[in-house]
């Protein structure tokens, strides 16, 4: 554990007044593209090995080892594509936007490194439609990069010309799912694909494709510069490196903060985000709403990729921490989360389309005071039936919904049960829900 200051945010000072956009010249002046230069003198296999050795895990939510993902590409199958996932639609997640707002070239350098290592011909930055400003920033940065030969050139030793383009989404959460993203890239509705074939074998335009998150790629220049061993000095054995944490909700100073993985949530909230606002800590979502909720006694949870196993949540997700104080109505908040999933379900799989809509309906009636005694159990049962993990849906959207509901019910049962008890339905006294 040795974290010595920001790696990803090194060009973005804490003081908002001093922040500025780093253009190509500013980026070069602060050591930018030096790693790319170093990489171009290496063998592609050595770059992949370096990334494998660094233990860099995907920052987009699943935490899949980045280097391992690269090794899945079939040999001698070209062209290959890289899709950069900048969809970032998970509520509570805004880290990538913050990074690109100030330092777009760090991503482009990461893309150039990944493209060289994997002999990629075209990289597409899939950016969500709502990020109008960031799409313009990236277009401008790409124009500079092309001008200076970062893209539009052959990878050394090959005939493959490396290109990079921005592709804008148009307002669909599901396009952040990797195969949904590919469908959307191809100009179709963003319906996730049944796997296999996995994208590494047949992805965009049925060609081998790698999909990496913005932050994952932004880690690459630093790994090349300082080496895999240095990267591993940060974080925990299973979760190496620095991480961007976005803190929002009931805190005094919401924002994006960089720390090593494994930092305690309480430290993050108190040291960086200015403490809980308007009351005491009650609950928090560790990484985007699909990850579930941390209870009142889990304030000190370590934020790393093992969080799921240790604290009964789905995982670290995107590390977008949403803090709720003790005056928050958690039933209303769960309704908000479930409405999100019901709204964003792509409709392809029945358990997800119907399940999320029914959970929303049930939570609506609980909030309105019409909760029925069995509602607690019905919600809990619905959770077990939908998602890729019970094996009833294609993608993980429903898993997100069911983990959110499941953990709220498990960690804050009284919030729900008291609503069910307090209501008399048609003159019959309700005695309380039967709880599993």
């Amino acid at each position: 554990m040795a974290y010595a200051g920001p790696v990803l945010l090194k060009r973005i000072p804490d003081d908002p007044a001093q922040r500025k956009l780093y253009r190509y010249a500013d980026y070069i002046a602060t050591g930018g593209y030096a790693s790319l230069k170093k990489v171009l003198a290496m063998l592609p296999e050595d770059v992949i090995k370096l990334v494998v050795d660094s233990g860099l895990r995907g920052r987009g939510g699943a935490g899949f080892p980045c280097g391992t993902k690269w090794t899945f590409l079939p040999k001698d199958l070209f062209p290959r594509y890289l899709a950069v996932n900048f969809d970032e639609s998970e509520p509570g997640t805004f880290k990538d936007r913050y990074l690109i707002d100030h330092d777009p070239h760090i991503l482009l350098e990461g893309i150039a490194i990944a493209a060289f290592a994997n002999k990629i011909s075209t990289s597409y930055i899939y950016i969500r439609g709502e990020y109008h400003h960031e799409a313009k920033l990236l277009e401008a940065a790409l124009a500079e990069a092309y001008e200076h030969g970062i893209f539009g050139q052959k990878h050394p030793g090959t005939d493959i010309v490396s290109h990079c383009y921005v592709h804008r989404g148009a307002g669909a959460y599901i396009c952040g799912e990797e195969t949904g993203l590919l469908e959307s890239l191809e100009g179709k509705r963003g319906w996730p694909r049944i796997k296999p074939p996995f994208p590494a074998v047949a992805g965009a335009f049925a060609k081998p494709t790698i999909i990496n998150n913005v932050e994952t790629l932004a880690c690459l220049p630093a790994i090349v510069e300082h080496g895999a061993a240095w990267f591993k000095t940060m974080g925990t054995p299973s979760s190496s490196g620095p991480k961007l944490f976005g803190v929002s909700g009931h805190v005094n100073k919401p924002g994006v903060f960089e720390e090593e993985l494994g930092i305690k949530m309480s430290t993050l909230i108190e040291k960086y985000a200015g403490g809980v606002k308007g009351g005491k800590y009650r609950a928090a979502i560790p990484g985007g709403v699909s990850m579930g909720v941390l209870g009142t006694d889990q304030y000190d949870a370590e934020l790393d990729f093992d969080i799921g196993r240790k604290y009964n949540v789905l995982g670290l997700g995107t590390a977008g921490v949403i803090v709720m104080n003790d005056k928050t109505d958690l039933v209303v908040m769960l309704r908000n989360i479930v409405r999100f999933f019901a709204h964003e379900s792509c409709g392809q799989c029945t358990p997800c389309r119907e399940g999320t809509a029914w959970m929303h309906k049930i939570l609506n009636r609980i909030v309105d005071g019409f909760g029925q005694p069995q509602d607690f159990d019905v919600l809990a049962e619905l959770c077990l039936t939908m998602g890729a993990m019970p094996g009833t849906t294609i993608c993980g959207l429903a898993d997100g919904a069911n983990w959110a509901v499941k953990t709220f019910l498990q960690k804050f049962p009284e919030d729900f049960k008291s609503r069910l008890k307090s209501r008399q339905v048609q003159g019959v006294a309700v005695t309380g829900a039967v709880v599993a």
Binding site: P91, R168, G187, K188, G249, P254, V289, M324, E344, G347
Partner: protein, 186 residues
């Protein structure tokens, strides 16, 4: 909701002689976007972004024209376009105010923004003011949770909204009819 197919009858507009896909749009797509992808279909999203930017909504005729241009069937285009929330099939007011309603914004009082909008402009989410100036929409997370409550006015993000101030900013915007394409919001 992405999986509910839009009401095609409601979106019907009489055909017009002047094409929606102007020569300029076609040229931009041909020169800028076609070379980026291995096939023409992949330029569908960029093309409709241009159409949205130009007209503020997508006319049924534009879908047919796009299908011909991209060498697809109209149903293929319809299928993709209706999936995406940003592609609207109906006309809106000049300024579309997308208020975020996801969890961080709800925690930080997005409801107060909506209440103020109701009080000042007399519109609920989904409605447009009588002078066709402002359309109010509630949307899911805009990815600016640290600035909650936030809203997207056309293409510009407004963060840390103070409801009264925000509404008076909107009132001061020029009310000229027609769709606003540029950054004249700020």
């Amino acid at each position: 909701m992405a999986w509910i197919v839009e009401d095609r009858l409601k979106a019907y507009q009489p055909a017009r002689n002047e094409p929606y896909l102007t020569a300029r749009i076609k040229q931009e797509v041909s020169e800028k976007y076609f070379p980026r992808y291995p096939n023409k279909r992949a330029a569908l999203l960029p093309l409709f972004h241009l159409i949205m930017h130009e007209y503020g909504y997508i006319a049924a005729q534009a879908i047919d024209e796009a299908a011909e241009f991209l060498e697809l069937t109209p149903s293929q285009v319809q299928d993709a376009v209706t999936f995406y929330e940003e592609f609207r099939l109906e006309k809106t007011g000049r300024y579309v105010v997308n208020v975020c309603r996801s969890i961080s914004c709800e925690l930080c009082g997005h409801q107060r923004v909506l209440e103020k909008m109701r009080e000042i402009f007399g519109i609920e989410p989904g409605e447009t003011t009588a002078d066709d100036k402002i359309t109010l929409l509630e949307v899911e997370c805009l990815g600016a949770c640290e600035q909650a409550p936030c809203a997207l006015v056309n293409e510009d993000l407004h963060g840390q909204i103070k409801p009264a101030e925000f509404c008076s900013q909107l009132q001061q915007l020029p009310a000229a009819p027609g769709h606003s394409t540029t950054d004249d919001v700020r």
